[in-house]
């Protein structure tokens, strides 16, 4: 007899937490750090604030906790130790009424809007808190204060997993007697520093490379302190929120937009609620759907909506521009490559915006060659998506697929060679393969743009190499 059951979102992601990157103590420690750092950067550089981010990982356990996650025959793999991870930022903070759900309810987020940001799923902080809770029984601590607020709010929060609701263990308000604003999040969890140390340092270094305007302070469980000091006060223009593009709609989205709109007529609805739809385009779309321009949005039948969608897809509507996106820029990429890899040659390209399923995206590529770049059989690949360094699942990523498909000898490079490629994709929706945000899926339009970008920087390298070869020949004579 089959036993039917419903799961809450928290029960579902608790049972399948490995899908969100929380597969074992080493990976969980890494994922906790990155989810919190990504939240800290979203709270700062997206809001014109020069980021000051402080990351402290402390070893908290006595020896008693050392065997907490041994399992027979795999004592090696899962030996864990109690740690605390604390991340502090000088960002915009949270309104106190949203803290319980922002940290205690899965699928709760301020990033469900059409704007480029690191976060997108409404899971990150909660998964870290969940993992901490199930391995240590301890709630998380959140301290936050918004810029204009005269108060600092303190919360001790855990998750009621069965119901996907926050549990507040403690709450207090303090008067703010200085200009501080931002958020502090502290989580206790069973981690494995030895096994995740390399990846955590790589993550912070690679974040610092492309955010030279950020101060990142890192204190590790062995007591080492590293400070990535800002080298500039110049910040990229933050990304902007935009309206959906008609090519990105489906029947369900259209239904909902028609129900929610304040527009009085269908024409007004199309112009007001969508990107790149002017009055003329709206009238053409409605004509193609056989719908009256002055019809009330709420009066459309399901049949009308299907016709409207059909007409939209068949109409010529200007593609989204990328002006709302925030890219790195060629100067920043070259600077970052030079600083970290000390190559003989470095170049970069930022492509014009392209689009997939109504979402504008920009691909940027950088190339570094020679001198201190470590030689390797395949080009070293530094992947980024919405300014997040991607360190896992490389073989699943479309960026690796493209870089491996390039015939590098055509560009003057014979593998193995000291060659590194950096690729950054930014969009209102990065097509990740999973909620753990580690690899980008091979959406055809995106794959094509990555290839064009990589070939473009490969050609720059080729020119340099052939110019250098010529000079060498000249010198030989």
């Amino acid at each position: 007899v089959e036993k039917f059951r419903a799961l809450s979102p928290s029960e579902f992601f608790y049972r399948n937490r490995e899908i969100a990157g929380f597969s074992n103590p080493a990976r969980a420690l890494y994922q906790t750090v990155r989810e919190l750092v990504e939240n800290a950067l979203d709270a700062t550089d997206t809001h014109h604030i020069l980021p000051d981010v402080k990351v402290v990982i402390k070893s908290e356990g006595g020896d008693g906790s050392r065997t907490l996650v041994n399992s027979e025959g795999s004592a090696e793999e899962y030996e864990g130790v109690l740690y605390s991870v604390q991340v502090e930022d000088n960002g915009i903070g949270l309104p106190p009424q949203h803290v319980p759900r922002a940290f205690g309810q899965l699928l709760y987020s301020s990033k469900y809007v059409l704007r480029q940001s690191r976060g997108m799923f409404g899971l990150g902080a909660k998964m870290a808190i969940l993992y901490g809770q199930i391995t240590t029984g301890r709630p998380a601590e959140v301290i936050t204060s918004q810029i204009l607020s005269k108060k600092i709010h303190y919360f001790k929060v855990s998750i009621d997993i069965a119901n996907n609701t926050p549990v507040i263990h403690e709450f207090s308000i303090m008067d703010k007697n200085n200009e501080w604003h931002g958020t502090v999040v502290k989580i206790h969890l069973i981690g494995d520093w030895q096994r995740s140390k390399q990846k955590i340092y790589d993550y912070l270094k690679r974040t610092a490379i492309i955010a030279p305007y950020a101060n990142i302070y890192f204190e590790d469980p062995e007591g080492n302190i590293v400070m990535f000091r800002r080298s500039t006060e110049e910040m990229p223009v933050p990304p902007r929120e935009v309206k959906p593009h008609p090519y990105g709609v489906d029947i369900e989205l259209l239904k909902r937009m028609l129900a929610d709109t304040s527009a009085k007529t269908l024409t007004e609805f199309l112009v007001k609620e969508f990107q790149n739809v002017g009055e003329l385009t709206a009238l053409k779309i409605l004509e193609g759907a056989g719908l009256k321009p002055d019809l009330k949005p709420s009066e459309l039948t399901l049949n009308d909506i299907t016709e409207l969608m059909r007409s939209i897809k068949a109409s010529k509507i200007r593609a989204p521009s990328g002006r709302h996106l925030s890219f790195l820029g060629e100067k920043l990429i070259v600077l970052g490559l030079r600083e970290t890899l000390k190559p003989e040659f470095a170049a970069a390209v930022t492509r014009k915006a392209s689009v997939y399923e109504g979402h504008a995206f920009i691909v940027e590529a950088g190339i570094a060659y020679g001198d201190k770049v470590p030689p390797s059989d395949k080009p070293l690949l530094l992947r980024y998506a919405n300014k997040i360094p991607l360190l896992y699942d490389e073989s699943a990523d479309v960026m690796r697929k493209v870089v491996d498909s390039i015939e590098w000898n055509r560009y003057g490079v014979t593998l193995p060679a000291p060659l590194a490629v950096l690729i950054h994709i930014c969009s209102t929706k990065v097509p990740y393969k999973g909620v753990g945000k580690e690899a980008v899926a091979d959406v055809p339009e995106v794959e094509k743009e990555i290839e064009l970008a990589v070939r473009e920087v490969a050609r720059k390298l080729k020119s340099y190499l052939s110019r250098k070869a010529k000079e060498y020949e000249e010198a030989e004579k």
Copy 2:
């Protein structure tokens, strides 16, 4: 100003449907077929029923729908056509009161128990229905009758995406005047047959290879009919439900089990609710945790629970046996390889059960070499998990990683070569990388077992090849 918002599970998976395999019309058509076929097989062979599964894909649209999903600059990739997919089985059917939620509410499932099954997430059928609904506006149809029922139930169901609740458009009950039992599911969606045809045929063929006891009838949109006829009435022993193993628990799970148990004492709780815990083991665990054996389960504090978990992890508890699992077996694997690849040599191995995070798993491997096996640079890989053929994301799969890491010349094979490897992993929890069930993650214990299994069949091939080489030399003399 940040706009905070909560999503229902259906809103979340609607917005991120590509993560569940519904990324474009071609992929969606494939995913719809496989999700429904997997449900059909779960409803039959897990319940001692020889499966009769009928799959019919019809092209339903006029030309009007052809341009339904064009987007500028990618008219090629997303040109879609209206199809209907209907899958019928002779399985156990559903109790009518569960049909609305089983097909209209995400995260609703009868497979959230500890038993090997193809389904595990409570998403498959709903994602297909959701995709059909958002691309065509049409609800799905479900007809079902349980074995002992005298009634056949008909439902027209769609999903209220905002609330994650079913919407029943039509419902009727008919008297059953024959012995029929099973389920019929019909979904209309925008698909792309030309681009998914190959994969859909591969999926059905590869399902048939390892289920020679199943009849699978397939009618494609071009009118072609293929019948995979059963070649045996012998069925593998169905998998059984088991209790959790102590090594698989965490504080949260323990909390819940203590709250739900009917056991009167802690000792009774441990013996009754867990696998492989007898009275003696229970007393040792409780002693190690400093807890009285006759304590009431409901009386434990959070501190007690943490101590109990610590003691469990540190105790010697017999690992789960694999007896509740349902593997393919060496005979079946060799037969399947011989039938599909017509090799010169085929061999297989079924490993003893191993365990990861409290879940028992069995790895089986098959190898085929020579004659009609197509030569390739890397060994051809046929992946299976819980009897499901995996066709996408091969480069992300741990099975590909292992096969590529083998130094095949040590086994007498010089690549490129006509070599194929089949790998099957079965478990109460397959460690998939994502909810689309296309690749298996590289859990260390699982990766190790896959390697041992592949090396074992590789050695069998090596003996064959060296024996053959010897005979050749003898013949030469």
